[in-house]
Symmetry: C2
Subunit: 300 residues, 2 copies
């Protein structure tokens, strides 16, 4: 990884980590177990969605402070979705990032409530942003649509309904466009909507960012599926070969490893094309290009 | 029940029922099982919170259309909280309003996701309101705070943490102020904040509405606890004597039936005082007074 991209990733990761700490002020009065459950938010992770949001904001010349509340809210949504996904009635996972999952540590009921609380608190944050800066209302609506039944939750539902069934290619793509893609889309589009509120709508710019984010979301999922069969279990930090065992429909179990690898390369071809076009419009895409390279070639 | 209050209750109930139908437009593309789970929203109920919201709006001279989105969102929040509350890891209830609970009908995973989807969609609605009418942003923030960890979810957490334990009076009141009271507060304060955005903040009006809503919330819970020991099981539509069996801390199990009855009367004394003061300020409180009478003397 080049020094430049390491510098920027660390800069944005440090920014989001310090903002996440503020989600739980000392005076937040609530039951200690539900608070502990909500603390899953601080259990680490690569913070890819907030990092991406900051990178797109900087490319567009938006003040990072304008997207801070959305970056925090995004990570809260991502965390609650993991807590609920790990529950026995869903994936029934005991380990997450090498530690006991939320319901193992705090019980199912508090994991359920802690997840609900994070989801609700994400929107408290989004509304705080809108009350401070009414220019962020379109960004807020885009955020909400992508986290809900038309976005991430919609994808989780298709995933659940498809378990153990043969799934068509179109349906597999819809599943992942929503389940993984929707939050990545929102992470890229929130800065666009704030930009547009200040400088006016720009359909072709929107389309380019949408192309970049769609490719990034799809690529992220294909890479995840490939890592399940290619990665070193120690490096990955979770068990490998799990998708096949769990009878999951993934790009690898449906298309096979080599086709999935080709799909990944094609998808990233499209990501880089979108970045080239953004560059030719005068935007500095150096950081986003290097970050895409990091995502495409990650080993965990 | 007088003809007047029956007329108004039916008017507001009909209004909310027809709005709730629109939550699921035909073109809403999602998995049919999660949609069926979300349809719990349409399974009836007294719609007390939206009805109260409309009554306070009319008292304040606010157009009902200004609170419609919040009324819908409120009922979505109430429904998701019931779905999640009924799950095996929470209250493990099989029946709700005489029908199988959501997880019995659609499985635990879809009940979990359907609940999440309703919670998220409530905020999609709230944000839609803000985007149509920026004057509703303070109402939206009040709504979000009352549904979250500082409100309803906070109350559910205290409830869960208190199960099977002796609970202090102050803690019991905090539990119910949050668990039941927060949504009722928000139902009354949303119209106030819209009024205030149009006509200016009015601290003494806020205090009166807050007094009315606090009493209404507390009274609602004490009455619920009394019905558990006083009601006819057939009329109530759910099993009675359940609180004692489940080792729940309620106003009846903690204070005894006669003290709880006195607390109910005192609480409604305060509710009527607040209404009298609102009336002396020139607001027409006839409907709210009759509705309070209905709530205080309900048999189910």
């Amino acid at each position: 990884m080049s020094e430049k991209i390491s510098y920027f990733m660390k800069k944005y990761q440090d920014r989001i980590e310090s903002l996440l700490l503020d989600v739980f002020p000392k005076e937040l009065s609530c039951d200690p177990t539900v608070k502990a459950s909500m603390y899953s938010l601080l259990a680490g992770g690569k913070r890819i969605r907030p990092v991406l949001m900051y990178m797109v904001a900087e490319m567009l010349g938006i003040e990072l402070s304008c997207v801070d509340d959305f970056a925090v809210a995004m990570e809260m949504i991502h965390t609650y979705s993991l807590i609920h996904d790990d529950l026995p009635c869903m994936d029934d996972d005991c380990l997450r990032r090498g530690k006991p999952t939320c319901h193992i540590a705090h019980g199912e009921a508090f994991a359920l409530l802690g997840g609900d609380a994070l989801l609700n608190r994400a929107f408290e944050r989004v509304l705080l942003s809108v009350s401070k800066n009414p220019n962020t209302i379109k960004a807020a609506c885009c955020f909400a649509e992508n986290t809900g039944i038309l976005g991430m939750i919609g994808g989780q539902s298709i995933d659940l309904a498809s378990e153990g069934k043969k799934i068509e290619t179109g349906r597999l793509c819809e599943l992942h466009e929503k389940k993984t893609g929707a939050l990545i889309n929102a992470s890229c589009l929130v800065p666009y909507y704030i930009y547009a509120a200040e400088k006016g709508e720009d359909k072709s710019l929107y389309d380019l960012i949408r192309r970049f984010s769609s490719g990034t979301g799809l690529g992220f999922q294909i890479k995840d599926d490939l890592l399940d069969v290619q990665a070193d279990q120690q490096v990955l930090g979770k068990s490998t070969g799990k998708d096949q065992r769990d009878n999951k429909s993934t790009f690898v179990t449906v298309f096979g490893e080599s086709t999935a690898q080709k799909m990944l390369d094609d998808t990233y071809g499209d990501v880089y094309d979108a970045l080239d076009e953004l560059s030719s419009r005068g935007f500095d895409v150096t950081v986003l290009r290097q970050f895409s390279d990091v995502l495409q070639n990650r080993v965990q």
